[in-house]
């Protein structure tokens, strides 16, 4: 019997006879935790959710929830008997019922289980949908429909909640606030959740664990901090797009040498023999700006991101390196100007491939 709350073991996830994700193994250790699944469009993230919900069957591996097999080649519990709720990305509200009636259907199921931890009014307030309760699904926006669908799913208080891009249609201005509220409610009610998203920041904020799906397989399954700081493959680095790989030579226990940036010091997370040629992951926060430094690079682009600027700098070898600078920094650098980098370069942990 599995120790994990949710255990997915060697499963091939397929839809319409086409395998999307092969031999996947991951899970959720404890009740109330959230797992975020990240990956590019069409990779099979939704297929994973549909399969866990019981809407698709499997021919290989097992899916267990609370020690009970939900899906395997021989067994398949029907969706209506799994006590798993799935909020679809697109509007899946019942078109002939008002938003209120739609949400109350979720509450009806909740009533059957005699769980009373979350009430209708609370969830309406939480997701800010009180104004649309008397409207029909075709009369509301895509973002409102998503929130209504989320409310319905939350009210069922399932054993496992599956959210497919739950906030993809929600306005950017409102999105972060909803994320905060969602995280609070999931944590308070101890609802175990899997969230599919393509927004890595959303995944890092909401998830206790993240699974990165690339090339038809689970490339990395780890906590958000590790996924960001210790990506385990070049593919994950490229997918997250939070840094670049530059060529370097290992010069010692704690140092490397790049011909444009010079010596770079830090702690290797993996041992490489001295003299090895490696690809070093350089993230925007790894380099510091210093006007007095003699290491000057050319500014080719500058993006204003509110709290900071991201400068894109060109090295002599034509590498393009991103660097964060606080937006309150005393002065700004224009494109084509020279930009100083503080030396020696010190990186807390060195990730190489």
């Amino acid at each position: 019997m599995s120790k994990n709350f949710l255990e997915i073991k060697n499963v091939d996830f397929a839809i319409g006879g086409k395998t999307k994700v092969k031999n996947a193994s991951f899970g959720i250790e404890n009740e109330g935790e959230t797992l975020c699944i990240l990956g590019p469009s069409g990779i099979g993230k939704t297929t994973i959710l549909r399969t866990i919900a019981g809407l698709e069957t499997i021919d290989k591996g097992t899916i267990q929830l609370k020690g009970k097999i939900l899906s395997s080649k021989k067994e398949n519990i029907e969706p209506e008997h799994r006590n798993i709720s799935l909020a679809f990305q697109d509007n899946s509200l019942f078109p002939h019922y008002t938003v209120e009636k739609n949400i109350l259907i979720g509450a009806d199921k909740n009533k059957e289980k005699k769980k009373k931890k979350l009430n209708f009014k609370e969830i309406i307030k939480l997701l800010d949908i009180s104004k649309i309760l008397n409207q029909y699904p075709h009369e509301i926006s895509a973002g409102e429909a998503q929130r209504a669908s989320l409310a319905r799913s939350l009210l069922t208080q399932p054993d496992l909640l599956l959210l497919d891009e739950p906030l993809s249609n929600v306005d950017q201005s409102f999105k972060e606030e909803i994320q905060v509220r969602l995280k609070k409610i999931l944590s308070r009610l101890k609802i175990t959740t899997i969230i599919v998203t393509h927004d890595s920041y959303e995944a890092f904020y909401l998830g206790n664990k993240c699974a990165i799906i690339l090339d038809s397989q689970v490339k990395q399954f780890d906590d958000p901090y590790n996924v960001y700081h210790f990506p385990n493959s070049v593919e994950v680095v490229n997918f997250l797009n939070r840094g670049i790989l530059i060529p370097a030579k290992v010069t010692g226990e704690n140092s490397l040498e790049n011909k444009d940036l010079g010596t770079i010091k830090g702690n290797f997370i993996k041992h490489y023999p001295k003299g090895s040629d490696v690809q070093l992951l350089l993230q925007p926060e790894d380099l510091e700006h210093d006007d007095r430094s003699n290491l000057k690079l050319e500014v080719v682009d500058r993006k204003f991101r509110g709290t900071n600027f991201i400068y894109t700098l060109k090295t002599n070898s034509d590498l393009l390196i991103p660097v964060f600078v606080h937006s309150h920094h005393v002065h700004q650098h224009e494109v084509d100007e020279k930009f100083g980098i503080k030396r020696p370069i010190n990186i807390d942990h060195i990730v190489c491939f």
């Binding site: 029907e78 209506e80 899946s92």
Partner: protein, 540 residues
Amino acid sequence: MFKSLNIWFISSLLVSISVLIPIVTVFYSFFEDTSNYFTILKETFLLEYIFNSLVLLISVLVLTFIIGTLSAYLVSFYKFPYSNFFKWALILSFAVPPYIYAYSLTAFFENYGTLYSILKNLFGPGNYNQHIPKFDGLFGAVLSLSFSLFAYVYILTRASFLYQSQNLIDLGRSLGFSKFKSLYSLILPAARPAIVAGLSLVAMETLAEFGAVDFFSINTLTTGIYNSWIAFDDLAFSNRLSFFLLIFIFAFFILENLSRKRAKYHSNTKGGFKQKEKIQLSGIKAFNAFFVCFIIFFLSFLFPLSQMLYWTVKFPENFFDLQVVTLTLNTVYLVFLSSIVLIIFSLISNYGNRVSKNKALNILSTLSISGYAIPGVILALAFITFIAWFDENIVQALGFLSIKKMFIGSILGLVIVYFVRFYSLAFNGIKSGYEKINISVDESSYLLGYSKQKTFTNIHVPYLRNSLLFVLILISLEIIRELPITLILRPFNFETFATTAYISASEDLLEAAAVPSLFLILIATTFIMLTSNYILRENE
């Protein structure tokens, strides 16, 4: 395959198979022995049957194309006095079945008929009969069918015109096209699928028509089938003739499909649609448009209605002789039973298809809706053939009592054959409602703990209630007008307005046929008015 074997799949499969039985029977019967009549007929009347059917078909198609597209073009693109009234008034012609139109045509133009009376009252006694044209025979049948059936072309073409983008019209203008050139080089080709669909329905109804052609004594394949059964008592021979007619119908469909090739008629681009604005007509142009629509409305609806009304008033004794209450109850009884059966089984079949997602079942369902393309006469006779075979080879062979009387000349048999004939109406009506329900709605329902049954009863049925109402009225309309199936399979002494009118007319008592015909037109008109918004797609 076996994963999809559930109660819904099996029910759906059974419904489709039972609808297919009469169709298969017709094909099977082709290989059976017939009497010598077939050889005799082959050498004598068969060519005439085929020739008459072809002439009738082509003439009706040409006329309905002209009337249907012209009226649809006028009400869709122009504003003129009463254009909004004509928009729905033109569909009232549906309330007048071709056989009632035929009675009106004969009654008006016959020697000493209504036109004669009008001329006599206006100009005094005279020898008017020799100057009054006679609309009978093949020409009369063409007119009756065309004015009764053009609404199929009108409705579908108008719907297509309605969704034609203003961009298309603007494109014509920017290319310097005249209105006429825009019509034939842009507007009509874009509406081609709708026009062809409308004409296909007209073709099926024309080939299936029994009442009007029988009234005008024209030998077509359909009347041939009926007569060979009545006169020669030769079911196998009727079925063989039916086979020819079916080949005719299927050839028509194949031709239509081939002619389309890979042409694409609809652009699905979002946001590119610009609702077109109607052009305001004035002066002589407005009068011409009004006149054309009025003439079509008058000839297709007002003329037969007033003729029947005139005779009802002129011969009131026929009104008192008619058992209106009994006929109404009989009609309501048939409508009620058939609608219930059709709606329940079509719902089950649609849902079965939806949940099992089985391709074989899908193909079978598509085949089973072909019942609508098969003339009522053929279906009724195929049903009798099948029951006779089943009774002889299965029921009685097993030592049970004969079941023939249970099915032939009974309400049960009537309802079963109505079911086969109108199954496509119910199935497609419900299917179009189902297509608007996203599959994720079903999945949400399962995930909320609803079983398939509960999803069906709590989610689908309430959502489909408008479609169901529409289907109910459509079926009612068809059953009220239906003639050959009722005529062949009805129980002894069980009449409807349609059969009463037919029997009176076939006994040359056209005045007596007027009252049931008038009732039939009025009831059908009420049903059409109730559903005009659906039929015209005003609410989409």
